[in-house]
């Protein structure tokens, strides 16, 4: 079946079976392989994308449910020229190692700070506790998100 949606600002038509998850459609139909699958049962958060402004686990959403939606993946958060302020903060604070959970961390944190640019450390820990990371021990991720808040304040 054909699914019409907007991904990273572009209108796209996806040909996919009804059972195809949004994650598989993004990865394989559109080649947006920045969205990673760590568990495919909604626990690890690596596949998180932003659908109509909300952080969503793309392994638990069918592609067909994205009909008419606006989807943003990690690839849509920066251009080829420079890292976004949030991405740059992750790099500055060494908030990633193997990079596999990172797209989900970035999308989840972006959705959080877009709504709550003043989120404190407890709030950040609470919201991002749904995203598993096996490498970093999380401490630098919290620092990175805290440090990126300024970029989301005012005008954004």
């Amino acid at each position: 079946m054909k699914i019409h949606t907007e991904v990273n600002g572009d209108a796209v038509e996806i040909e996919a079976e009804p059972r195809t998850t949004l994650a598989d459609a993004l990865r394989h139909a559109l080649g947006l392989t920045g969205t990673h699958l760590g568990c495919e049962h909604g626990v690890c958060g690596a596949c998180t994308v932003i659908v109509d402004g909300r952080a969503v686990r793309s392994c638990l959403m069918l592609a067909v449910q994205a009909e008419g939606a606006r989807v943003v993946t990690v690839e849509g958060l920066s251009d080829d020229e420079a890292l976004s302020p949030l991405q740059a903060s992750f790099r500055k604070h060494h908030a990633l190692q193997c990079g596999f959970c990172t797209p989900g961390m970035i999308t989840t944190a972006h959705a959080l700070l877009s709504d709550e640019p003043d989120a404190d450390a407890d709030r950040i820990r609470d919201v991002l506790s749904g995203n598993l990371c096996r490498c970093t021990g999380y401490i630098n991720i919290v620092e990175a998100v805290l440090d990126a808040r300024a970029a989301y304040r005012g005008g954004d």
Partner: protein, 709 residues
């Protein structure tokens, strides 16, 4: 404090200062944008996707495998079983500590007549999409007659049921660490205490599960396998023997990898079956392990118990340590299955002066997923056994537990200090250097040990407070050698090829720092650090046992020395002067004192690649002390880690940013293993914690306060 033996180039001048600088990682630029390339990101035309049929029975005889219904499904291409492989099913050889007696317990690449754990591969279904392959796998009918299940160490030791009837035992080997005369030390000892300890089964659970893409070119007879990590050259060696190919016919390629921690990258059954499927069908075949599959198909770890006994003088001076550990090995002896048990006995005495040691570790087979090395294999277990027993002994003797440790910690005067010999391997190693008490003192100071002593055991706001402290040593830099190649490219920059492997630890950045400093080049004069793949070098050893920086890094320093000499020689010829008059400026040009110069790119054809190895069989021993302040809720049993301090002497620091990141991440993994993670089996050999909803890993909320120095 002395560091590990990084090789020192003869004419190296420190004009750059990358080593020791917390520079931001090169890798991050692609990872943060979603531009990393992990194995499932690889695309090929005409690809077949593999899904495995795995045993749901822990122990049984295979009566029949019926793939007919699967083959009837449109889109399913083939169902491969042991019968398709031939009369002789290849075995997966031990990579470390091999002994002939152990090989009888190795794993076949596919179960043919008997299954020995839930998750053991029985058949491979190939189809046009991953979903169709899974549909097909669901339709394969397995007829397995169950056998009695060996669900734990005790029933394994009773040997009423054998995993391998022909071997006559469920215990492949017992290792023994020996130093001095333990029995004599225990005889007439003023104080003796014996206790039993255990560490449960858990494992790495990398965020990216395993995956492989195999491509067979029948015309040229070439096999290309992507998705390798850790030990690509060893993978190639095994695969070549199993498939009857020359190593030169096989390329093993490394991609970005979502974590390793020792578990990922060893030779697994799939490492044969996917390339085999590609050759059988003449099609490219991809397999991506799903999470549930990962929990039974990838190596498990830990799962050891130990009865440990200590003998002391009344003043707390340790006379001896003796005991017996039993490691639950699971159903087969995998590539590095001996290593955890070896470490349990070898570093049982840790950083302490214990003159008499006799500790055994028996490997015991059960109907569970096989175990392998995982982050601090055996050390995590044995450090806990020892440090906990020390606390008990100090308590009995009425000695402060810190004073007890201080009395027995090794001093720099005693280095090098030989650890017990491990039999039957006759393996010896020694603590190389360090002042162990400094890390303990600093750790206690940072956590405020003395100031907070009154809190110990106190009930405050409904929680009991407590403090713990422990010391450790960690052997790294496994030999025998590592290989690198530096190539001067036409644009005048240098390409860095290393046999070390990247598992997410920042290898490209850290090796880039070492190479740039050794070459006296700015880092942007490197085209990149190319790692792991067998296409880059004639040999390589890989990334395990904390070896990449010491072994690979030291090889880079040697190679940089060679490349600079070649550049000088080529420039001298071009500029008509002596080689030792040539200066290499900014990694851009070679110059004479008179001011004549040539861009390095123009010398590329005249400068041979600098290819060299660094060899060493001497292990490095980092060490340190950790202390924790916890609060326990007696109503729920919940343990809150209020503060955690680690002070470690790791030798020379290449990148403080990545080093601290590694240390914090490792501590949180360790806390997960201590407080959260457990691979739980029932008496029928079924894994009960086989999803991430059941297997609890630390989240961002669990351990917010970790301090590392």
């Amino acid at each position: 404090m002395p560091g590990p033996p990084i090789a020192v180039a003869t004419d190296m001048r420190i004009t750059n200062t990358y080593i020791g600088s917390p520079i931001e990682r090169i890798e991050d630029l692609r990872f943060l944008r979603g531009k990393g390339e992990y194995v499932d990101d690889l695309k090929r035309d005409g690809l077949l996707h593999a899904s495995f049929v795995r045993s749901s029975v822990a122990h049984g005889i295979i009566r029949a495998i019926d793939g007919a219904a699967a083959l009837d499904l449109p889109g399913v291409h083939s169902v491969i079983t042991a019968a398709d492989i031939g009369d002789v099913i290849p075995m997966i050889p031990l990579r470390q500590e091999p002994l002939p007696a152990l090989r009888r317990f190795e794993q076949p690449v596919i179960a043919s007549d008997r299954v020995r754990y839930v998750g053991e591969a029985v058949a491979v279904v190939l189809a046009d999409s991953p979903a169709l392959a899974e549909d097909g796998a669901d339709l394969v009918r397995l007829d397995i007659d169950p056998l009695p299940v060996i669900a734990d160490r005790a029933s394994s030791a009773r040997e009423e049921t054998l995993l391998f009837d022909e071997n006559g035992t469920n215990s492949p080997i017992t290792l023994t660490a020996v130093l001095g005369d333990a029995d004599a030390a225990f005889r007439d000892a003023p104080y003796v205490r014996r206790e039993s300890f255990s560490v449960q089964r858990y494992t790495a659970v990398t965020m990216e599960a395993r995956g492989l893409l195999a491509e067979w070119d029948a015309d040229s007879g070439r096999m290309t396998v992507s998705g390798a990590v850790k030990v690509p050259f060893a993978i190639r060696r095994v695969l070549a023997a199993q498939m009857g190919l020359d190593e030169a016919q096989i390329d093993i390629l490394e991609n970005d990898a979502g974590g390793g921690f020792g578990v990922r990258g060893e030779f697994y059954p799939e490492d044969f079956l996917i390339p085999f499927a590609a050759r059988l069908t003449g099609r490219s075949v991809k397999w991506i392990e799903d999470r549930r599959e990962h929990m039974t198909a990838s190596n498990h770890a830990r799962d050891a118990e130990c009865e440990l006994e200590i003998a002391c003088e009344r003043d707390g001076t340790i006379r001896g340590l003796r005991g017996r550990a039993v490691v639950d090995l699971g159903a087969y002896m995998r590539t590095n299955a001996v290593t955890p048990a070896r470490n349990i006995v070898q570093v049982a005495s840790g950083p302490y002066r214990i003159p008499n040691v006799h500790i055994e570790a028996a490997l015991q087979m059960t109907n569970k997923t096989p175990v392998g090395t995982y982050r601090g294999p055996g050390r995590f277990e044995t450090d806990f056994f020892r440090e906990r027993l020390f606390d008990m002994a100090a308590g009995d003797l009425g000695i402060d537990r810190v004073a007890f440790r201080r009395r027995n910690l090794l001093t720099s005067d005693e280095m090098p200090y030989s650890l017990p010999t491990v039999l039957p391997y006759d393996m010896n190693t020694e603590c190389d250097s360090g002042e162990y008490s400094i890390t303990l003192d600093r750790c206690l100071e940072m956590i405020g040990w003395d100031a907070k002593a009154d809190l110990q055991g106190q009930l405050i706001d409904g929680r009991y407070h407590g403090f713990g402290v422990g010391c450790y040593i960690e052997g790294g830099a496994s030999g025998p050698r590592e290989h690198v190649r530096l190539a001067l490219e036409d644009d005048g920059r240098v390409a860095v090829y290393v046999g070390s492997s990247a598992v997410g630890q920042g290898l490209e950045t850290v090796h880039g720092q070492i190479a740039a400093d050794a070459l006296e080049f700015p880092m942007d004069r490197l085209t990149g650090v190319f790692h792991g793949s067998t296409t880059y070098l004639k040999e390589g050893f890989g990334t395990y046992s904390s070896r990449s920086v010491v072994m690979g890094g030291s090889a880079l320093v040697l190679a940089a020395d060679d490349l600079r000499a070649s550049i000088r020689a080529a420039a001298a010829q071009r500029l008509g002067c002596a080689a030792d008059e040539v200066d290499i400026i900014d990694g851009e040009r070679a110059e004479t004192p008179a001011g004549a110069s040539v861009p390095l790119g123009e010398l590329a054809d005249a400068v041979p690649d600098a290819e060299t190895s660094f060899s060493s069989n001497k292990r490095t021993y980092s060490y340190g002390a950790h202390a924790a302040h916890v609060a326990v809720d007696p109503k729920t049993g919940h343990v809150a880690v209020l503060d955690y301090v680690a002070v470690e002497d790791v030798g020379r620091i290449i990148n403080p940013k990545t080093l601290h990141g590694q240390a914090i991440g490792a501590i949180v993994q360790g806390l997960g293993g201590t407080l959260l993670e457990h691979l739980v089996y029932d008496e029928g050999g079924q894994l009960l914690s086989g999803t991430l909803a059941d297997y609890l890993m630390p989240t961002m909320s669990d351990f917010p306060t970790i301090r590392v120095e």
